[in-house]
């Protein structure tokens, strides 16, 4: 038997009524192994205006590069209490901010390894289905060989790589730009 997946529909403007209970701006509690990072940015529309009714969700591996999921059968340690999931609403300016740990490298297609990254889903009014993108990390040699980044035209790769905020340890900036010159790369998986 074969069915088609149910159609996606927009979250609409009142998404927080149903979704904000699971807001997790702090994804890793203290004591979680790994390099601590804070990622902040804005979700911007085609006019460069902040999307005030948006939400991003994050999915990531732990610092060893292991997902807290039964289909990750790598012989690597799991971290108790680290789910790897984040849900962060945007504020009135379209800004978001969350803290987590930098994930380790995880396997990629055909024997490759992927550079440390976060999977991101973007939800908002005006989007009939969520957008899929990724955050990669700055000064990371593995980015050059990442099998997914390699598929992105070189001029656009920078949109997926967070930037260091000078003078603040562990602070990274990463924006989601929906349209225009610096439009963020979105994926079709």
């Amino acid at each position: 038997m074969s069915l088609y997946a149910t159609g996606n529909q927009t979250v609409g403007p009142y998404l927080y009524i149903g979704l904000s209970w699971l807001t997790t701006p702090r994804m890793a509690r203290s004591g979680t192994p790994g390099e601590r990072v804070t990622i902040e940015g804005r979700l911007l529309d085609g006019d460069g205006v902040g999307v005030a009714d948006g939400l991003i969700e994050i999915w990531q591996a732990n610092a060893s590069g292991k997902y807290a999921h039964p289909e990750d059968t790598q012989k690597k340690p799991t971290v108790r209490g680290f789910r790897g999931f984040g849900r962060i609403p945007t504020n009135g300016r379209g800004a978001f901010r969350f803290s987590t740990i930098k994930p380790g490298s995880v396997p990629g297609p055909e024997g490759s390894f992927q550079a440390p990254h976060l999977a991101v889903a973007v939800f908002m009014r005006g989007s009939l289905k969520h957008l899929a993108t990724r955050v990669y990390f700055p000064d990371e040699p593995a980015n050059a060989k990442d099998p997914i980044l390699k598929l992105v035209p070189p001029a656009r790769r920078e949109t997926l790589i967070a930037k260091r905020v000078p003078g603040r340890k562990g602070a990274l900036q990463w924006n989601v730009i929906l349209q225009g010159e610096d439009e963020t790369v979105f994926f079709d998986f």
């Binding site: 069915l3 088609y4 997946a5 149910t6 159609g7 009142y14 998404l15 009524i17 529309d45 889903a121």
Partner: protein, 238 residues
């Protein structure tokens, strides 16, 4: 690592496009560059798992979250969550939110001139059971106007959010009610080109789950992306 079993790509016409002019807000909020088609990796075929301690008993009953009962017609909304291979999706989180019986959301930006119901918050959540079944008790939401076009009204609907077993199976959708005359005018409903797929967003009246002297039952089955028949993607042995 063993082979990764990839998920199916959407069937043409069964999912909305990002750029859909009849829904005016998509204009400034859709990507203009083409999406980068990428293979599914371990990142995409895994996803967050939630435990029963993430929800409280009673979170699935939207009529008992306050001192009094909400105004409106009490209804029971139940169904099954399946994948594209018709296999039940067990123990997965289902979140819902909706307007009250007068068509007003309990949200500061909802300016519709309809009363707030102090006994109705409009949010619920639950897990599917081992057979993929879920059930909510709520009230039938009202229709409400919006500013998409002249005399625009949203049909009555309940927002649904589901996770499934992978980050790729994430789904947010809306459930509609059978016989609603507003459906054919609604850009959200009409954004799905395939008529059969569109109709699947409409719940059916369900005699079997209707409780005598208590509440009408509606059935809304949900299908999440399922695996391809053959594994596509190979990860390194480790």
């Amino acid at each position: 690592m063993k082979k990764i079993a990839a998920y199916r790509r959407p069937h043409p016409g069964t999912q909305p496009e990002y750029d859909y002019p009849p829904y005016a807000s998509t204009k400034k909020r859709h990507p203009k560059q083409p999406l980068v088609v990428a293979p599914q990796t371990l990142t995409e075929v895994t996803g967050p798992l939630f435990g029963y301690d993430d929800v409280k008993p009673g979170d699935q009953d939207l009529t008992r979250q306050h001192k009094g009962a909400p105004i409106g017609e009490r209804i029971l909304v139940s169904g099954r969550v399946l994948d594209e291979n018709a296999k039940p999706v067990p123990h997965t989180l289902v979140e819902i939110w909706q307007a009250n019986a007068a068509g007003r959301y309990r949200h500061q930006t909802d300016r519709h001139d309809a009363p707030i119901d102090p006994n109705f918050s409009g949010a619920g959540r639950t897990f599917t059971d081992a057979e993929g079944r879920y059930r909510f008790v709520t009230i039938r939401p009202g229709e409400y106007p919006w500013r998409n076009h002249y005399n625009a009204w949203r049909p009555a609907h309940i927002h649904f959010s589901l996770f499934g077993p992978a980050f790729l199976t994430r789904l947010v959708t809306q459930m509609y009610f059978p016989g609603d005359p507003l459906l054919e005018y609604d850009p959200m409903y009409c954004c799905i080109a395939d008529e059969k797929a569109r109709r699947r967003l409409v719940a059916t009246f369900d005699w079997e789950t209707t409780v005598p002297e208590h509440a009408l039952g509606y059935r809304f089955d949900i299908v999440l992306r399922g695996r391809d028949a053959t594994p596509q993607d190979v990860s390194p042995g480790e």
